[in-house]
Amino acid sequence: MNAPLRPRFAGLAAAAVLAVTLAGCTPGSGGTPAPTLDPDREIETDVSALGDRTLTVWDQEVRGGQDEQMTRLNAAFEEEYPNITIERVSQSFDDLGRTLRLALSGDNAPDVVQANNSRASMGAFVAADQLLPLDPWAEEYGWADRYPESILTYSTYSDDATTFGEGSLYGLPQVGEVVGVFYSKAKLDQLGIDVPADWEAFEAALRTAKDAGETPLLLGNIEKWPAGHVFGPVQGALVDSEEIQSLGFGNEGASWLTPENVAAAAKLASWQTEGFFNEGVNGTDYDAAWQSLAAGDGVFLMGGSWLAADLQDAMGEDVGFFVPPATAGEGARTTGGTGLPFTVTSATDTPDLAAAYIDYITSDDAMAILAETGNLPVVDTQQYAPASGVLRDVYTAFGSVTEEGALLPYLDYATPTMGDTLGEALQGLLDGRLSPEQVTEALEADYADFTAAD
């Protein structure tokens, strides 16, 4: 009976040896400590004086126009400074988000990375001291003059990352995003309605469309997050912007339980009960929804400016975009934000070069190239608006929202779990199984848990 036990025993012994070896190192202790920069060091803004260097950049600019602008800007940078080689690693948004954590904690961290503004990404990296605060360079290059303050708050964190929107600047975005309403011009003509000038008119238009037997508002929500882009603008119209800002940034001092927030959830629920949405929103693909608009199966579609290029390709001059203000004439308050900001890792050995690169790809010349390649430049947007088409509407809307209205953060920035909480709560609301109160309670629980933990 002894012999058969032997191998088993050997296996156990091997496992035990392994476990003991492993127990020696606590996860997260292997990384090199971030080198601290001498606060009195001189910032070198002349890239040609830096000698032969390689700059490793991780970006997620993979789609057509995004990739084109990045390629052009990198080539121009290398041409202007022949002593610099840019090593570009490009991957999709999802892939970058997943690999960045490992890359930043490893030994060969890149110099410049695009990190999502959210607490789950940028916030976590700031808390782990993996990104450099860019304030000295911001001063040197005058970034505060280049960018509107509302945009810079999106990449600003306190040193320990407990506060989002205040503290040091950690990155600069190239492009902007705004969530609004796409519509089919032909359908509006057919129904005899004008482009709604405010929320009241928008709701009236939805009702007119419903009465005429059309599908008023298209939504594909199987992915859970799309409904957040319908709820966001609704909330923007009904709730105080500063309150939403605190809720969205996950900072203390706000509450989801206010009557205004409940009213916003109730508004969304009423759109569902009135039959404004297409059948089975929770089982419809996000992409299928905008394709339905292009196919003429609906009148309005609420979504982000990133859909504009695809919709223009599919619908040509038939598609338009607007952001309804709460009251006609004033600036609209809606969900939006920036593209992923470019940040500098604390592992870089050439922070001056990294900062100079970020300055270069967000300069006026860069903004012009961004506009040329069909992106929405985040600075001086209206100036670059094309002469016609839905992109003109988008540029105008973004400019007016950032300058006259308010750009409100994506609500899932708030906490690492908020994306799921919000998505699941809104699916429940649209299904009719959660009341508006239950939805705001679920959101409050997530938000309060997080802010209390700090």
Partner: protein, 291 residues
């Protein structure tokens, strides 16, 4: 006779050493590392804190995770038990009835097994869409009342996803069982017929007992497949609507990559591994005892 057993010297161990090293590097080490990680509260970035078995206690108390394991058991029914029942009947018909073009049928039944799960999931997502093939077919026969957004329905999304699993596993199970049935000597059926047994009696008294080993293999494979399902859920529903179709392996992914709770994710993964291991042992023990 040569000496055997413990006194054979180090040679046998040296022979398995290369394979063991590979096995150790790519399986035992990651497994041990997961167990190790599961004892920490770690965000994947900063220094971890040792929390002992807290992550495991959380699994037992977290309603969402308990539900996820419950969903996995529902999927076991659709991925394993249902296909074995269908597979038994189908394989019996295909072997006993002299069907023309048997290889063709076998190929068709097996085909879903060959297609990548992601492709399967995308195809079914379109079939289940509100204006997809399934609803169109229901409307065509006047069953409008039954149409719904299958993957967006709190009650029906889990069975809908489960049926995709049934569709995929049935082929594998059927082919395995057919191989077992081919071994049954024809004389057995002849004598059963002479004793007056019908097709049903034949099925339960000869076929089912004879394919017990194959059924065990089929059950083990499909139960394991159902418990570790990730791609199907990820592509079709993302765990939704709400969290009504989330499964343990999806929770591992969500925790590790979306929420940055690496320790907790590892704990879920280790628990899942233990559950799979335990179920496989139970299935195989029962089969051995019954044989």
């Amino acid at each position: 006779m040569r000496r055997a057993g413990p006194s054979a010297g180090p040679t046998p161990y040296l022979l398995i050493l290369p394979a063991f090293l590979v096995y150790g590097a790519f399986l035992l080490f990651p497994l041990a590392r997961s167990v190790h990680l599961s004892l920490f509260d770690w965000d994947g970035l900063t220094l971890a804190t040792f929390v002992g078995f807290d992550n495991y206690i959380d699994i037992a108390t977290d309603e969402r995770l308990r539900a996820a394991f419950g969903h996995a058991l529902v999927l076991v029914f659709f991925f394993a038990i249902l296909p074995v029942c269908i597979g038994l009947a189908l394989a019996a018909v295909l072997t006993r009835a002299r069907v023309r073009g048997l290889p063709l049928f076998r190929t068709i039944v097996f085909l879903p097994q060959v297609i990548a799960m992601v492709v399967v999931a995308i195809a079914w997502r379109q079939i289940y869409a509100p204006d997809g093939v399934l609803n169109t077919a229901l409307r065509a026969v006047g069953l409008d009342a039954l149409t719904r957004a299958w993957l967006g329905d709190y009650t029906f999304s889990l069975p809908a996803v489960g049926l995709i699993g049934t569709w995929v596993s049935t082929g594998l199970v059927t082919v395995l069982l057919m191989a077992g049935m081919a071994r049954i000597p024809a004389e057995l059926f002849e004598s059963a017929r002479l004793d007056g047994a019908g097709a049903v009696r034949e099925f339960f008294s000869i076929i089912v007992p004879a394919v017990r080993p194959e059924a065990t293999v089929a059950l083990t494979l499909t139960v394991v497949a159902s418990l570790k399902t990730f791609d199907l859920i990820y592509v079709t529903t993302g765990g939704g609507p709400g969290s009504s179709t989330t499964v343990p392996s999806y929770e591992v992914y969500r925790r590790a990559f979306e929420l940055g709770e690496v320790g907790s994710a590892a704990a879920v993964g280790v628990t899942l591994t233990a559950v799979i291991f335990a179920l496989s042992v139970v299935i195989n023990r029962r089969a051995e005892r019954g044989a």
